[in-house]
Symmetry: C2
Subunit: 303 residues, 2 copies
Protein backbone atom coordinates (compact mmCIF):
# COMPACT_ATOMS: atom_id res chain seq x y z
CA UNK A 1 0.00 0.00 0.00
CA UNK A 2 1.27 3.50 -0.78
CA UNK A 3 1.97 5.81 2.17
CA UNK A 4 0.04 9.08 1.91
CA UNK A 5 0.46 10.87 5.23
CA UNK A 6 2.69 11.04 8.29
CA UNK A 7 0.80 11.89 11.49
CA UNK A 8 2.17 12.79 14.90
CA UNK A 9 0.16 13.01 18.10
CA UNK A 10 2.69 15.21 19.91
CA UNK A 11 1.79 15.80 23.52
CA UNK A 12 3.43 17.25 26.62
CA UNK A 13 5.35 14.18 27.74
CA UNK A 14 5.46 11.89 24.68
CA UNK A 15 4.67 11.55 21.00
CA UNK A 16 3.35 8.81 18.75
CA UNK A 17 3.92 8.81 14.99
CA UNK A 18 1.98 6.95 12.27
CA UNK A 19 2.66 6.29 8.61
CA UNK A 20 -0.71 6.00 6.89
CA UNK A 21 -2.07 4.98 3.52
CA UNK A 22 -4.78 7.10 1.92
CA UNK A 23 -7.44 4.56 2.95
CA UNK A 24 -6.47 4.82 6.62
CA UNK A 25 -4.29 1.74 6.89
CA UNK A 26 -1.51 2.33 9.41
CA UNK A 27 1.65 1.04 7.73
CA UNK A 28 4.16 1.81 10.46
CA UNK A 29 4.33 3.46 13.89
CA UNK A 30 6.96 5.07 16.11
CA UNK A 31 6.91 6.35 19.68
CA UNK A 32 9.19 8.73 21.53
CA UNK A 33 9.39 10.26 25.00
CA UNK A 34 10.27 13.65 23.47
CA UNK A 35 7.03 15.42 24.34
CA UNK A 36 7.10 19.21 24.01
CA UNK A 37 8.13 19.61 27.64
CA UNK A 38 10.75 16.84 27.35
CA UNK A 39 12.73 17.81 24.28
CA UNK A 40 16.01 17.78 26.23
CA UNK A 41 17.33 20.72 24.20
CA UNK A 42 16.48 19.24 20.80
CA UNK A 43 14.65 21.47 18.32
CA UNK A 44 11.23 20.41 16.98
CA UNK A 45 12.55 19.77 13.40
CA UNK A 46 15.32 17.52 14.82
CA UNK A 47 12.79 15.40 16.68
CA UNK A 48 10.60 15.09 13.58
CA UNK A 49 13.64 14.01 11.55
CA UNK A 50 14.70 11.47 14.18
CA UNK A 51 11.22 9.96 14.42
CA UNK A 52 10.01 10.07 10.81
CA UNK A 53 13.13 10.75 8.71
CA UNK A 54 13.38 7.09 7.71
CA UNK A 55 9.86 7.18 6.25
CA UNK A 56 10.56 10.11 3.90
CA UNK A 57 13.91 8.62 2.90
CA UNK A 58 12.08 5.47 1.87
CA UNK A 59 8.90 7.00 0.41
CA UNK A 60 9.72 10.58 -0.62
CA UNK A 61 8.50 13.95 0.70
CA UNK A 62 5.22 12.98 2.42
CA UNK A 63 2.98 15.60 4.05
CA UNK A 64 3.02 15.67 7.86
CA UNK A 65 0.11 16.46 10.18
CA UNK A 66 0.80 17.24 13.84
CA UNK A 67 -1.80 17.43 16.61
CA UNK A 68 -1.67 17.95 20.37
CA UNK A 69 0.35 20.33 22.54
CA UNK A 70 2.86 20.84 19.70
CA UNK A 71 0.36 23.49 18.53
CA UNK A 72 0.24 25.33 21.85
CA UNK A 73 2.04 28.56 22.69
CA UNK A 74 4.88 26.40 24.08
CA UNK A 75 4.94 24.22 20.95
CA UNK A 76 6.53 24.45 17.51
CA UNK A 77 4.12 26.92 15.92
CA UNK A 78 0.93 28.08 17.64
CA UNK A 79 -2.29 26.84 16.04
CA UNK A 80 -5.00 28.88 17.72
CA UNK A 81 -8.06 27.28 19.25
CA UNK A 82 -11.22 27.12 17.15
CA UNK A 83 -14.44 27.82 19.07
CA UNK A 84 -17.29 25.42 19.92
CA UNK A 85 -19.35 24.17 18.20
CA UNK A 86 -16.43 22.75 16.20
CA UNK A 87 -16.83 20.52 13.16
CA UNK A 88 -14.16 18.60 11.29
CA UNK A 89 -14.22 21.39 8.67
CA UNK A 90 -13.46 23.97 11.40
CA UNK A 91 -10.44 21.99 12.52
CA UNK A 92 -9.33 21.70 8.90
CA UNK A 93 -9.75 25.43 8.35
CA UNK A 94 -7.67 26.10 11.47
CA UNK A 95 -4.64 24.14 10.25
CA UNK A 96 -1.39 26.12 10.49
CA UNK A 97 1.57 25.33 8.24
CA UNK A 98 5.07 25.24 9.71
CA UNK A 99 7.40 27.61 7.82
CA UNK A 100 10.51 25.90 6.38
CA UNK A 101 9.69 22.23 6.99
CA UNK A 102 12.79 20.07 7.49
CA UNK A 103 14.62 19.02 4.33
CA UNK A 104 13.15 15.96 2.63
CA UNK A 105 9.67 16.34 4.16
CA UNK A 106 6.55 17.58 2.40
CA UNK A 107 4.46 20.36 3.99
CA UNK A 108 4.11 20.16 7.79
CA UNK A 109 0.83 21.38 9.30
CA UNK A 110 -0.45 21.61 12.87
CA UNK A 111 -4.08 21.06 13.88
CA UNK A 112 -5.75 23.62 16.17
CA UNK A 113 -7.29 22.83 19.55
CA UNK A 114 -10.87 23.66 20.52
CA UNK A 115 -11.98 26.37 22.93
CA UNK A 116 -15.20 26.49 24.89
CA UNK A 117 -15.46 30.25 25.17
CA UNK A 118 -17.80 30.30 28.14
CA UNK A 119 -17.47 33.19 30.59
CA UNK A 120 -18.37 31.16 33.64
CA UNK A 121 -16.69 27.89 32.75
CA UNK A 122 -14.25 28.16 29.85
CA UNK A 123 -12.35 25.04 28.83
CA UNK A 124 -9.71 24.04 26.30
CA UNK A 125 -8.77 20.83 24.55
CA UNK A 126 -5.84 20.10 22.26
CA UNK A 127 -5.26 16.71 20.73
CA UNK A 128 -8.14 14.70 22.19
CA UNK A 129 -10.64 16.41 19.84
CA UNK A 130 -8.82 14.77 16.91
CA UNK A 131 -9.24 11.36 18.55
CA UNK A 132 -12.95 12.06 18.99
CA UNK A 133 -13.32 12.75 15.25
CA UNK A 134 -11.43 9.51 14.65
CA UNK A 135 -13.87 7.62 16.89
CA UNK A 136 -16.81 9.17 15.02
CA UNK A 137 -15.28 8.05 11.70
CA UNK A 138 -14.52 4.50 12.84
CA UNK A 139 -17.91 4.09 14.54
CA UNK A 140 -19.76 5.86 11.68
CA UNK A 141 -21.50 8.08 14.17
CA UNK A 142 -22.18 11.81 14.39
CA UNK A 143 -23.11 12.23 18.04
CA UNK A 144 -22.53 10.93 21.53
CA UNK A 145 -20.56 11.50 24.73
CA UNK A 146 -16.90 10.51 24.59
CA UNK A 147 -14.36 10.31 27.41
CA UNK A 148 -10.60 10.31 27.00
CA UNK A 149 -9.16 9.33 30.39
CA UNK A 150 -5.81 10.82 31.32
CA UNK A 151 -4.03 13.08 33.78
CA UNK A 152 -6.79 15.45 32.72
CA UNK A 153 -9.87 13.51 31.58
CA UNK A 154 -11.73 15.07 28.69
CA UNK A 155 -15.48 14.51 28.34
CA UNK A 156 -16.61 15.59 24.88
CA UNK A 157 -20.22 16.01 23.73
CA UNK A 158 -20.84 15.65 20.00
CA UNK A 159 -24.11 16.50 18.25
CA UNK A 160 -24.73 16.35 14.53
CA UNK A 161 -21.01 16.01 13.80
CA UNK A 162 -19.95 19.01 15.89
CA UNK A 163 -18.19 19.17 19.27
CA UNK A 164 -20.75 21.23 21.16
CA UNK A 165 -19.39 21.11 24.68
CA UNK A 166 -16.60 19.52 26.68
CA UNK A 167 -15.37 19.37 30.22
CA UNK A 168 -11.94 18.62 31.66
CA UNK A 169 -11.68 16.75 34.97
CA UNK A 170 -8.47 17.14 36.96
CA UNK A 171 -9.03 13.66 38.47
CA UNK A 172 -5.73 12.00 37.54
CA UNK A 173 -3.53 14.90 38.55
CA UNK A 174 -5.54 15.41 41.74
CA UNK A 175 -5.08 11.74 42.66
CA UNK A 176 -1.31 12.05 42.18
CA UNK A 177 -1.14 15.27 44.24
CA UNK A 178 -3.20 13.76 47.07
CA UNK A 179 -1.18 10.54 47.11
CA UNK A 180 2.18 12.24 46.78
CA UNK A 181 1.73 15.38 48.81
CA UNK A 182 -0.91 15.03 51.54
CA UNK A 183 -1.35 13.00 54.71
CA UNK A 184 -3.51 10.53 52.75
CA UNK A 185 -0.44 9.29 50.90
CA UNK A 186 1.29 8.13 54.09
CA UNK A 187 -0.77 4.95 54.14
CA UNK A 188 -0.47 4.37 50.37
CA UNK A 189 2.72 2.36 50.25
CA UNK A 190 1.34 -0.73 48.50
CA UNK A 191 2.48 -1.47 44.95
CA UNK A 192 -0.10 -4.12 44.01
CA UNK A 193 -3.48 -3.06 42.62
CA UNK A 194 -6.50 -3.62 44.86
CA UNK A 195 -9.76 -4.26 42.96
CA UNK A 196 -11.50 -4.49 46.34
CA UNK A 197 -10.24 -1.05 47.40
CA UNK A 198 -11.26 0.40 44.03
CA UNK A 199 -14.74 -1.12 44.29
CA UNK A 200 -15.25 0.34 47.77
CA UNK A 201 -14.05 3.75 46.59
CA UNK A 202 -16.50 3.77 43.68
CA UNK A 203 -19.31 2.81 46.07
CA UNK A 204 -18.29 5.62 48.40
CA UNK A 205 -18.59 8.05 45.47
CA UNK A 206 -22.26 7.08 45.17
CA UNK A 207 -22.95 8.23 48.71
CA UNK A 208 -21.52 11.74 48.23
CA UNK A 209 -24.10 14.48 48.56
CA UNK A 210 -23.44 18.03 47.37
CA UNK A 211 -20.50 19.84 45.81
CA UNK A 212 -18.31 20.17 48.91
CA UNK A 213 -18.84 16.64 50.23
CA UNK A 214 -15.67 15.38 48.57
CA UNK A 215 -13.53 17.71 50.73
CA UNK A 216 -14.74 15.90 53.85
CA UNK A 217 -14.87 12.43 52.32
CA UNK A 218 -11.16 12.64 51.48
CA UNK A 219 -10.18 12.85 55.14
CA UNK A 220 -12.30 9.83 56.03
CA UNK A 221 -9.90 7.76 53.89
CA UNK A 222 -7.34 8.42 56.61
CA UNK A 223 -9.84 7.93 59.42
CA UNK A 224 -10.89 4.58 57.89
CA UNK A 225 -7.24 3.57 58.03
CA UNK A 226 -6.77 4.72 61.63
CA UNK A 227 -9.86 2.78 62.74
CA UNK A 228 -8.95 -0.42 60.90
CA UNK A 229 -11.73 -0.06 58.31
CA UNK A 230 -9.43 0.28 55.32
CA UNK A 231 -6.22 -1.69 54.86
CA UNK A 232 -3.16 0.23 53.72
CA UNK A 233 -2.98 -2.07 50.70
CA UNK A 234 -6.47 -0.96 49.62
CA UNK A 235 -6.16 2.75 50.31
CA UNK A 236 -4.66 4.09 47.06
CA UNK A 237 -7.22 2.28 44.92
CA UNK A 238 -9.99 3.35 47.28
CA UNK A 239 -9.01 6.97 46.62
CA UNK A 240 -8.78 6.29 42.88
CA UNK A 241 -12.24 4.70 42.88
CA UNK A 242 -13.70 7.56 44.90
CA UNK A 243 -12.40 10.19 42.46
CA UNK A 244 -13.13 8.31 39.23
CA UNK A 245 -16.58 7.36 40.54
CA UNK A 246 -17.34 11.01 41.34
CA UNK A 247 -16.11 12.03 37.88
CA UNK A 248 -18.22 9.41 36.07
CA UNK A 249 -21.38 10.27 37.99
CA UNK A 250 -20.89 13.97 37.34
CA UNK A 251 -19.98 13.73 33.67
CA UNK A 252 -22.76 11.29 32.77
CA UNK A 253 -25.32 12.73 35.19
CA UNK A 254 -25.62 9.16 36.34
CA UNK A 255 -27.22 7.79 33.19
CA UNK A 256 -25.99 9.20 29.85
CA UNK A 257 -24.27 6.45 27.79
CA UNK A 258 -20.67 7.15 26.85
CA UNK A 259 -17.82 5.86 24.72
CA UNK A 260 -14.31 5.33 26.06
CA UNK A 261 -11.50 6.38 23.76
CA UNK A 262 -7.82 5.40 23.98
CA UNK A 263 -5.47 5.05 26.97
CA UNK A 264 -5.53 1.26 27.58
CA UNK A 265 -4.49 1.28 31.27
CA UNK A 266 -6.93 3.95 32.41
CA UNK A 267 -9.69 2.65 30.15
CA UNK A 268 -9.85 -0.58 32.18
CA UNK A 269 -10.19 1.44 35.38
CA UNK A 270 -12.97 3.59 33.89
CA UNK A 271 -14.73 0.49 32.56
CA UNK A 272 -14.61 -1.13 36.00
CA UNK A 273 -16.05 1.99 37.60
CA UNK A 274 -18.78 2.27 34.94
CA UNK A 275 -19.75 -1.36 35.49
CA UNK A 276 -19.93 -0.86 39.27
CA UNK A 277 -22.11 2.20 38.73
CA UNK A 278 -24.23 0.44 36.10
CA UNK A 279 -23.50 3.24 33.64
CA UNK A 280 -24.08 2.32 29.98
CA UNK A 281 -20.82 2.53 28.06
CA UNK A 282 -18.69 0.96 25.39
CA UNK A 283 -15.18 1.18 24.11
CA UNK A 284 -14.14 2.80 20.84
CA UNK A 285 -11.97 0.66 18.54
CA UNK A 286 -8.20 1.14 18.58
CA UNK A 287 -6.72 3.62 16.13
CA UNK A 288 -8.94 6.64 16.79
CA UNK A 289 -5.86 8.89 16.81
CA UNK A 290 -4.55 8.26 13.28
CA UNK A 291 -8.12 7.93 11.94
CA UNK A 292 -8.91 11.39 13.29
CA UNK A 293 -5.72 12.87 11.90
CA UNK A 294 -6.48 11.47 8.46
CA UNK A 295 -10.00 12.92 8.67
CA UNK A 296 -8.65 16.36 9.62
CA UNK A 297 -6.05 16.25 6.81
CA UNK A 298 -8.82 15.41 4.32
CA UNK A 299 -11.16 18.09 5.65
CA UNK A 300 -8.37 20.64 5.24
CA UNK A 301 -7.60 19.52 1.70
CA UNK A 302 -4.12 18.87 3.06
CA UNK A 303 -4.01 15.51 1.26
CA UNK B 1 -2.90 35.55 91.24
CA UNK B 2 -1.73 32.02 92.09
CA UNK B 3 -0.87 29.71 89.20
CA UNK B 4 -2.86 26.45 89.33
CA UNK B 5 -2.24 24.64 86.04
CA UNK B 6 0.17 24.45 83.14
CA UNK B 7 -1.54 23.60 79.81
CA UNK B 8 0.06 22.70 76.51
CA UNK B 9 -1.74 22.50 73.20
CA UNK B 10 0.88 20.27 71.56
CA UNK B 11 0.22 19.68 67.90
CA UNK B 12 2.03 18.22 64.92
CA UNK B 13 4.03 21.27 63.91
CA UNK B 14 3.97 23.57 66.96
CA UNK B 15 2.96 23.92 70.59
CA UNK B 16 1.53 26.65 72.76
CA UNK B 17 1.84 26.66 76.55
CA UNK B 18 -0.24 28.55 79.13
CA UNK B 19 0.21 29.19 82.81
CA UNK B 20 -3.27 29.52 84.31
CA UNK B 21 -4.81 30.56 87.60
CA UNK B 22 -7.67 28.48 89.03
CA UNK B 23 -10.20 31.06 87.83
CA UNK B 24 -9.00 30.77 84.22
CA UNK B 25 -6.78 33.83 84.09
CA UNK B 26 -3.87 33.21 81.74
CA UNK B 27 -0.81 34.46 83.64
CA UNK B 28 1.86 33.68 81.07
CA UNK B 29 2.24 32.01 77.65
CA UNK B 30 4.98 30.37 75.62
CA UNK B 31 5.15 29.08 72.05
CA UNK B 32 7.52 26.68 70.34
CA UNK B 33 7.93 25.14 66.90
CA UNK B 34 8.70 21.75 68.49
CA UNK B 35 5.50 20.01 67.41
CA UNK B 36 5.51 16.23 67.74
CA UNK B 37 6.76 15.81 64.17
CA UNK B 38 9.38 18.57 64.63
CA UNK B 39 11.16 17.58 67.83
CA UNK B 40 14.56 17.58 66.10
CA UNK B 41 15.73 14.67 68.22
CA UNK B 42 14.64 16.14 71.55
CA UNK B 43 12.62 13.93 73.90
CA UNK B 44 9.15 15.01 75.02
CA UNK B 45 10.24 15.65 78.67
CA UNK B 46 13.10 17.85 77.44
CA UNK B 47 10.72 20.01 75.42
CA UNK B 48 8.34 20.34 78.37
CA UNK B 49 11.26 21.38 80.60
CA UNK B 50 12.51 23.91 78.04
CA UNK B 51 9.07 25.46 77.57
CA UNK B 52 7.62 25.35 81.10
CA UNK B 53 10.60 24.64 83.41
CA UNK B 54 10.82 28.30 84.42
CA UNK B 55 7.21 28.24 85.64
CA UNK B 56 7.73 25.31 88.04
CA UNK B 57 11.03 26.77 89.23
CA UNK B 58 9.17 29.95 90.14
CA UNK B 59 5.90 28.44 91.41
CA UNK B 60 6.61 24.86 92.50
CA UNK B 61 5.44 21.49 91.08
CA UNK B 62 2.28 22.50 89.15
CA UNK B 63 0.14 19.90 87.38
CA UNK B 64 0.43 19.82 83.59
CA UNK B 65 -2.34 19.05 81.09
CA UNK B 66 -1.43 18.27 77.49
CA UNK B 67 -3.84 18.10 74.55
CA UNK B 68 -3.46 17.58 70.82
CA UNK B 69 -1.35 15.18 68.79
CA UNK B 70 0.97 14.64 71.78
CA UNK B 71 -1.62 12.02 72.80
CA UNK B 72 -1.54 10.17 69.47
CA UNK B 73 0.29 6.93 68.75
CA UNK B 74 3.21 9.06 67.54
CA UNK B 75 3.10 11.24 70.67
CA UNK B 76 4.47 11.00 74.22
CA UNK B 77 1.92 8.56 75.64
CA UNK B 78 -1.17 7.43 73.73
CA UNK B 79 -4.46 8.71 75.12
CA UNK B 80 -7.06 6.68 73.26
CA UNK B 81 -10.01 8.31 71.55
CA UNK B 82 -13.30 8.50 73.43
CA UNK B 83 -16.39 7.84 71.28
CA UNK B 84 -19.15 10.27 70.25
CA UNK B 85 -21.31 11.55 71.82
CA UNK B 86 -18.53 12.93 74.01
CA UNK B 87 -19.09 15.19 77.03
CA UNK B 88 -16.53 17.06 79.05
CA UNK B 89 -16.80 14.29 81.68
CA UNK B 90 -15.88 11.70 79.02
CA UNK B 91 -12.77 13.64 78.08
CA UNK B 92 -11.91 13.94 81.77
CA UNK B 93 -12.39 10.20 82.30
CA UNK B 94 -10.13 9.50 79.32
CA UNK B 95 -7.16 11.43 80.71
CA UNK B 96 -3.93 9.41 80.71
CA UNK B 97 -1.11 10.20 83.12
CA UNK B 98 2.46 10.23 81.90
CA UNK B 99 4.64 7.85 83.94
CA UNK B 100 7.66 9.54 85.57
CA UNK B 101 6.93 13.22 84.91
CA UNK B 102 10.07 15.34 84.60
CA UNK B 103 11.71 16.38 87.88
CA UNK B 104 10.17 19.48 89.46
CA UNK B 105 6.80 19.12 87.71
CA UNK B 106 3.56 17.90 89.27
CA UNK B 107 1.55 15.14 87.56
CA UNK B 108 1.46 15.34 83.74
CA UNK B 109 -1.73 14.14 82.02
CA UNK B 110 -2.78 13.91 78.37
CA UNK B 111 -6.33 14.51 77.14
CA UNK B 112 -7.87 11.96 74.76
CA UNK B 113 -9.18 12.75 71.27
CA UNK B 114 -12.69 11.96 70.09
CA UNK B 115 -13.66 9.25 67.61
CA UNK B 116 -16.74 9.17 65.42
CA UNK B 117 -17.04 5.42 65.16
CA UNK B 118 -19.16 5.38 62.02
CA UNK B 119 -18.69 2.50 59.59
CA UNK B 120 -19.35 4.54 56.48
CA UNK B 121 -17.69 7.79 57.50
CA UNK B 122 -15.47 7.49 60.56
CA UNK B 123 -13.62 10.59 61.71
CA UNK B 124 -11.14 11.56 64.42
CA UNK B 125 -10.29 14.77 66.22
CA UNK B 126 -7.52 15.46 68.70
CA UNK B 127 -7.00 18.85 70.26
CA UNK B 128 -9.76 20.89 68.62
CA UNK B 129 -12.42 19.21 70.78
CA UNK B 130 -10.79 20.82 73.83
CA UNK B 131 -11.07 24.24 72.16
CA UNK B 132 -14.75 23.58 71.47
CA UNK B 133 -15.37 22.89 75.17
CA UNK B 134 -13.48 26.12 75.90
CA UNK B 135 -15.75 28.02 73.50
CA UNK B 136 -18.83 26.52 75.16
CA UNK B 137 -17.51 27.63 78.57
CA UNK B 138 -16.65 31.16 77.49
CA UNK B 139 -19.91 31.61 75.57
CA UNK B 140 -21.97 29.86 78.29
CA UNK B 141 -23.55 27.66 75.69
CA UNK B 142 -24.26 23.93 75.44
CA UNK B 143 -24.95 23.53 71.74
CA UNK B 144 -24.11 24.83 68.27
CA UNK B 145 -21.95 24.22 65.23
CA UNK B 146 -18.28 25.16 65.61
CA UNK B 147 -15.56 25.33 62.98
CA UNK B 148 -11.83 25.29 63.64
CA UNK B 149 -10.15 26.26 60.36
CA UNK B 150 -6.76 24.73 59.67
CA UNK B 151 -4.84 22.44 57.35
CA UNK B 152 -7.70 20.11 58.21
CA UNK B 153 -10.82 22.08 59.13
CA UNK B 154 -12.89 20.55 61.89
CA UNK B 155 -16.66 21.15 61.99
CA UNK B 156 -18.04 20.09 65.35
CA UNK B 157 -21.72 19.71 66.25
CA UNK B 158 -22.58 20.08 69.93
CA UNK B 159 -25.98 19.28 71.45
CA UNK B 160 -26.85 19.44 75.13
CA UNK B 161 -23.19 19.73 76.11
CA UNK B 162 -22.01 16.71 74.08
CA UNK B 163 -20.03 16.52 70.84
CA UNK B 164 -22.48 14.49 68.79
CA UNK B 165 -20.88 14.60 65.35
CA UNK B 166 -17.95 16.16 63.56
CA UNK B 167 -16.47 16.28 60.11
CA UNK B 168 -12.93 16.99 58.90
CA UNK B 169 -12.42 18.86 55.63
CA UNK B 170 -9.08 18.44 53.86
CA UNK B 171 -9.48 21.92 52.33
CA UNK B 172 -6.24 23.55 53.49
CA UNK B 173 -4.01 20.62 52.63
CA UNK B 174 -5.78 20.13 49.30
CA UNK B 175 -5.22 23.79 48.41
CA UNK B 176 -1.49 23.43 49.16
CA UNK B 177 -1.21 20.22 47.13
CA UNK B 178 -3.05 21.75 44.14
CA UNK B 179 -1.00 24.96 44.28
CA UNK B 180 2.31 23.22 44.82
CA UNK B 181 1.98 20.08 42.76
CA UNK B 182 -0.45 20.46 39.85
CA UNK B 183 -0.64 22.48 36.67
CA UNK B 184 -2.91 24.99 38.47
CA UNK B 185 0.05 26.20 40.54
CA UNK B 186 1.99 27.34 37.48
CA UNK B 187 -0.01 30.54 37.28
CA UNK B 188 0.02 31.12 41.06
CA UNK B 189 3.22 33.09 41.40
CA UNK B 190 1.75 36.20 43.05
CA UNK B 191 2.65 36.92 46.67
CA UNK B 192 0.04 39.59 47.43
CA UNK B 193 -3.45 38.57 48.58
CA UNK B 194 -6.30 39.16 46.14
CA UNK B 195 -9.67 39.83 47.81
CA UNK B 196 -11.17 40.09 44.30
CA UNK B 197 -9.88 36.63 43.34
CA UNK B 198 -11.16 35.20 46.63
CA UNK B 199 -14.59 36.76 46.11
CA UNK B 200 -14.86 35.32 42.60
CA UNK B 201 -13.79 31.88 43.87
CA UNK B 202 -16.45 31.89 46.59
CA UNK B 203 -19.06 32.89 44.01
CA UNK B 204 -17.91 30.05 41.76
CA UNK B 205 -18.44 27.63 44.65
CA UNK B 206 -22.12 28.65 44.70
CA UNK B 207 -22.56 27.50 41.11
CA UNK B 208 -21.21 23.97 41.68
CA UNK B 209 -23.79 21.26 41.18
CA UNK B 210 -23.27 17.72 42.42
CA UNK B 211 -20.47 15.87 44.18
CA UNK B 212 -18.07 15.51 41.24
CA UNK B 213 -18.46 19.05 39.89
CA UNK B 214 -15.40 20.27 41.77
CA UNK B 215 -13.14 17.92 39.77
CA UNK B 216 -14.10 19.74 36.57
CA UNK B 217 -14.29 23.21 38.09
CA UNK B 218 -10.65 22.96 39.19
CA UNK B 219 -9.42 22.74 35.60
CA UNK B 220 -11.43 25.78 34.58
CA UNK B 221 -9.16 27.83 36.87
CA UNK B 222 -6.43 27.14 34.34
CA UNK B 223 -8.72 27.67 31.37
CA UNK B 224 -9.83 31.02 32.82
CA UNK B 225 -6.18 32.00 32.95
CA UNK B 226 -5.47 30.83 29.39
CA UNK B 227 -8.43 32.80 28.06
CA UNK B 228 -7.63 36.00 29.97
CA UNK B 229 -10.59 35.67 32.35
CA UNK B 230 -8.51 35.29 35.50
CA UNK B 231 -5.32 37.24 36.18
CA UNK B 232 -2.36 35.28 37.53
CA UNK B 233 -2.38 37.58 40.56
CA UNK B 234 -5.96 36.52 41.39
CA UNK B 235 -5.63 32.80 40.72
CA UNK B 236 -4.39 31.44 44.07
CA UNK B 237 -7.07 33.28 46.02
CA UNK B 238 -9.70 32.24 43.47
CA UNK B 239 -8.80 28.61 44.19
CA UNK B 240 -8.82 29.29 47.95
CA UNK B 241 -12.26 30.92 47.70
CA UNK B 242 -13.61 28.06 45.57
CA UNK B 243 -12.51 25.42 48.09
CA UNK B 244 -13.45 27.32 51.27
CA UNK B 245 -16.79 28.29 49.73
CA UNK B 246 -17.54 24.66 48.87
CA UNK B 247 -16.57 23.63 52.40
CA UNK B 248 -18.77 26.27 54.06
CA UNK B 249 -21.80 25.45 51.92
CA UNK B 250 -21.40 21.74 52.60
CA UNK B 251 -20.76 21.98 56.33
CA UNK B 252 -23.56 24.45 57.03
CA UNK B 253 -25.96 23.05 54.43
CA UNK B 254 -26.13 26.63 53.28
CA UNK B 255 -27.94 28.01 56.30
CA UNK B 256 -26.96 26.59 59.72
CA UNK B 257 -25.36 29.32 61.90
CA UNK B 258 -21.85 28.56 63.10
CA UNK B 259 -19.15 29.83 65.42
CA UNK B 260 -15.55 30.31 64.33
CA UNK B 261 -12.92 29.22 66.83
CA UNK B 262 -9.22 30.16 66.87
CA UNK B 263 -6.67 30.51 64.04
CA UNK B 264 -6.65 34.30 63.42
CA UNK B 265 -5.35 34.26 59.81
CA UNK B 266 -7.73 31.62 58.51
CA UNK B 267 -10.62 32.95 60.58
CA UNK B 268 -10.60 36.17 58.54
CA UNK B 269 -10.75 34.15 55.34
CA UNK B 270 -13.64 32.03 56.62
CA UNK B 271 -15.45 35.15 57.82
CA UNK B 272 -15.06 36.77 54.39
CA UNK B 273 -16.43 33.67 52.70
CA UNK B 274 -19.34 33.42 55.15
CA UNK B 275 -20.23 37.07 54.52
CA UNK B 276 -20.14 36.56 50.75
CA UNK B 277 -22.39 33.52 51.14
CA UNK B 278 -24.68 35.31 53.62
CA UNK B 279 -24.15 32.50 56.12
CA UNK B 280 -24.98 33.43 59.73
CA UNK B 281 -21.87 33.17 61.88
CA UNK B 282 -19.92 34.74 64.71
CA UNK B 283 -16.51 34.47 66.21
CA UNK B 284 -15.71 32.84 69.55
CA UNK B 285 -13.69 34.96 71.98
CA UNK B 286 -9.92 34.45 72.21
CA UNK B 287 -8.62 31.95 74.74
CA UNK B 288 -10.84 28.95 73.94
CA UNK B 289 -7.79 26.67 74.12
CA UNK B 290 -6.71 27.30 77.73
CA UNK B 291 -10.35 27.67 78.83
CA UNK B 292 -11.08 24.21 77.44
CA UNK B 293 -8.00 22.70 79.03
CA UNK B 294 -8.98 24.11 82.41
CA UNK B 295 -12.48 22.69 81.97
CA UNK B 296 -11.11 19.24 81.10
CA UNK B 297 -8.70 19.34 84.06
CA UNK B 298 -11.62 20.20 86.38
CA UNK B 299 -13.89 17.54 84.90
CA UNK B 300 -11.16 14.97 85.49
CA UNK B 301 -10.60 16.08 89.07
CA UNK B 302 -7.03 16.71 87.94
CA UNK B 303 -7.01 20.06 89.74
Amino acid sequence: MTPALICLDWGTTALRAFLQAADGHVLDTRASAQGIMALDGAAFPDVLRAVAGGWVQAHGPLPVLLSGMVGSRQGWVEARYVPCPARLADLGAGLVEVPDPPHGFGPVAIAPGVLMDDDARPDVIRGEEVEVFGALALLERSDGLFVLPGTHSKWVHVADGAITHFSTYLTGELFAALKGHTILGRMMTAEAPSPEGFRRGVEAACTLKGPGALLARLFTVRAMGLTGRLAEADSADFLSGLLIGAELLDATRGHVPFTLVANPALTLRYEDAARLLALPHHRAPAGCGPAGQLAVARAAGFI
